[in-house]
Amino acid sequence: MHGVQETSRNDELPTEGNAKVTGAAVYTWDTALPRMLHGKLLRSPLPHARIRSIDTTEALAILGVVCIVTGDDVAPLAEQFYGVGLRDQPVIALDRVRFVGDPVAAIVAVDEATAFRAAQAIKVDYEPLPPLMTVEDALADDAPALFDGPTPGIPIPVGKGWSSVADPVRNVLCEYNFGYGDATAILDASDQVFTDTFAVTRINHFHLEPHVNIAHWNDGRLEMWSCNQDPFVIRGDIARIFGLPLHRVRIHTPLVGGGFGGKSYCKMEPLVALMARKAGAPVRLALSMDESILTLVKHPGRLTLTTGVDREGRLTARRADIVLDGGAYSDASALVAVKTGFRVGGGYHWQAIASRARIVRTTTVPSGSFRGFGGTQASFASERQIDLIARRLGEDPLTFRMRNLLDVDQPFAPNERGMDSDLSAGLQDVAERIGYSSKRQQGRGIGFAVGLKDAGGTGNHAQALVRVTQDGEVMVSAAVVDVGQGAASALCRIATDVLGLPLANATYAPIDTDHSPPDNGTHVSCGTLVTGRAIEQAAAEVRKQIETFAAERLDCDVSEIVLEGWTVRRGNVVHPLTPMVRKYYGGIGWEFIGRGAFKEPYDPDTPMGARNISWMPCWSVAEVSVDDETGRVTLHRLIVSADPGRALSREACHGQIEGAAMQALGQAMFEELRYRGAEPENATPLTYRVPKVRDLPAHFESVVAEHGMGFGPGGVKGIGEAGMLGIAAAIANAIQDATGASLTTMPFTPEKVLDALDQLRHVGDVPVVERS
């Protein structure tokens, strides 16, 4: 059933897994400081309102309440807002609330129960304002503006072929246009042109460890423990908001209990720092899962694609109009818009692309990064439309894809890095695995999708340290956060491979911004690629130091020295290193320390402002049947394949692919954070449905397709987001294959399936393709 064959876990750090199965693993959730106080938040019950006043008198009188932080405490800070590029989210509501759940007051007390009681005793006088629950509400002529002035910060800088603008019209946070070639002329000249609209829904990350932070000020210096994917981003944001030098802020990031993008960039951290400063004592703020659900979601949106095809069935040009619901605050919306607009062409060859992506502000939970940064939205629309077009042309969707996919080394866009996966071979492989050419079982449909996104980030950088003791133990320091993706093992493996030492000798140093070398965050599956390169370089430098040391001790040329495990060989004589180091450095010994760094250089001629580091395809194929009375879809088989270039740990790769695929399956079939009017309808763990073990398809297979062309050490590339990319489209395509019904809006609930079947009866739009 499940594609993993290997039974041994000897490619893992021995310490890491043990702690997780014995309960010894320590997360931020488990961290405590002496004299620590506890926080709770009072959140807005209204979607949109002006705060006339906040009366905390009664709450402050409760025994055990230490202090209460409100917008008044934020006003004197050096800066009041955070966000990625565009910064509009206040540390806590200043004079207005913009979604149900917007934090209004933060209570610090001796324990959570007291803080919670105090929250109930705070009186907030709101002047309700019109809610803007949907993109249509927000863009209506009479809609009030959600923000008064221009948005602080800058829209994400992009490269050739782009234009970007913040606040183009009321309630639009930003707009990006990207393109190359003359899309209008090419579409006009195309044999056939198709326009379709697709909708993606709002889902939550639902990481099991909710957001939690502990802050502690000592002598003007802030120390924080934060379950965040970006310790150095947090350090920078806090320093900016509090007007502090960077080294006055120290962030620890212990193990993170799941993130998927929900713990990237700044969230509650500045607020917790402010609470601790006002309380004059360490403060822990642990959100409940309900609150975490109201902290960040994945962008819902609408994508309209207009795509041309020539007489030979070749794709010509695509125009895309992408409208994403950014929710109340910017968070990483600007980045997601850029990435959605960039990726909407998918893995195909085009003469021209013209995409426009806008972020609309609404009075809903802020949207931000979610495993794939717009990649899933773009892939769903693109791969649904490719299938629709093939079927309209009376073509087999597999053949149609094969004809149009990019070849190896062919650039995704002008001046971009060439394709470093064989897209056709990957697709062919999953087609064979599902037995596409054999006779279809009665009532079953098969659907494909080739998801694609860029990976490794834009101009990303990382530094790393590798330290080796006189006994050959290896300490790897970097800032890649282990959110469960196995980063510690993968990065240590890169170092020990260079050194020729066993992985068991390695330790991944805890992340602490005072000591860890910086990077720009654990994102876009860049850990093994970007940081991996820095580590490879650091390890090579250490190796050279060790060899040079041995050559000096043995009084020979370094070229005569061969490092073999923790010995050096010169000619036929083997010298153990431990006594050699001890003899020279004495009792306490010595550590060899190597440094490495990597930065993908900026290049203004590339679309993203720097060449993309790698391409991340996901080849998916689904087999379904549909009960046409109830509309229930049964997913019989799901095969998902992704290319890590070279797998550092095949097990970890299978895990990443399957975990992501299951999240995508949830979004495709049932998962959705819904609003009923202005109220979130299911923002609790009980009512928000995530995939459970029962949702595993009868046959679920993940494929680690090592195409060997990655840019990272030894040909590796990232894989963490891949499995998310194609699933929803593959399932919808399979539904269409089975029934002819066309689903363009997630999730594919029985109601939507019945509607689509009904429409089919009335319109008979898309013919079912017969294959021999």
Partner: protein
């Protein structure tokens, strides 16, 4: 709030503690006895992260008042390994990469220990039934089900 004294057998040792009537078992285990392998995620009895065994039965420690389990025997993930030797389910989790972030893992392992006690050789349906209350957002469940299948039944019964 009224407080009361409880006697609990935790991982085989008799322990006593004083709790308020509103204290839940998860807080006693984590805060009083430092057994932080008991993870609290949803805090509403729906995700299974906090699962512990009370007299061998899986229970959501976040949704169980401590006084309710007075006098009973509680097994947490910390109590599974004996003399430094991992329980067969723990070993199987390691061998099958049945976890990523690890936040669901303690609860998942204890649910499986209970499952294997009741059904030493569970079929697919039984596994899905018993794990229906444990959410894992990371792995996609495949490796977890695989880990259950690969536990040697005889081993599963030891010190369960």
């Amino acid at each position: 709030m009224k407080s009361m004294t409880l006697s609990l057998t935790i991982n085989g040792a008799l322990r006593h503690c004083e709790v308020a009537s509103s204290t839940v078992l998860a807080d006693v285990l984590r805060d009083t006895f430092g057994l932080q392998g008991c993870k609290v995620a949803c805090d509403q009895g729906v995700c299974g992260a906090c699962t512990v065994l009370v007299d061998g039965e899986p229970v959501a420690a976040c949704a169980t008042f401590a006084f309710v389990v007075d006098g009973r025997s509680i097994m947490t993930v910390e109590g599974l390994a004996q003399n430094g030797v991992l329980h067969a389910v723990q070993t199987s989790f390691l061998e099958n990469s049945a976890f990523q972030c690890g936040f669901c893992t303690s609860g998942m392992i204890l649910s499986i220990v209970a499952l294997l006690r009741a059904h030493p050789e569970p079929d697919e349906e039984t596994i899905r039934d018993w794990l229906g209350g444990n959410v894992c957002r990371c792995t996609g469940y495949g490796p977890i089900v695989e880990a259950v299948r690969r536990v040697i039944p005889a081993h599963a019964l030891e010190h369960a």
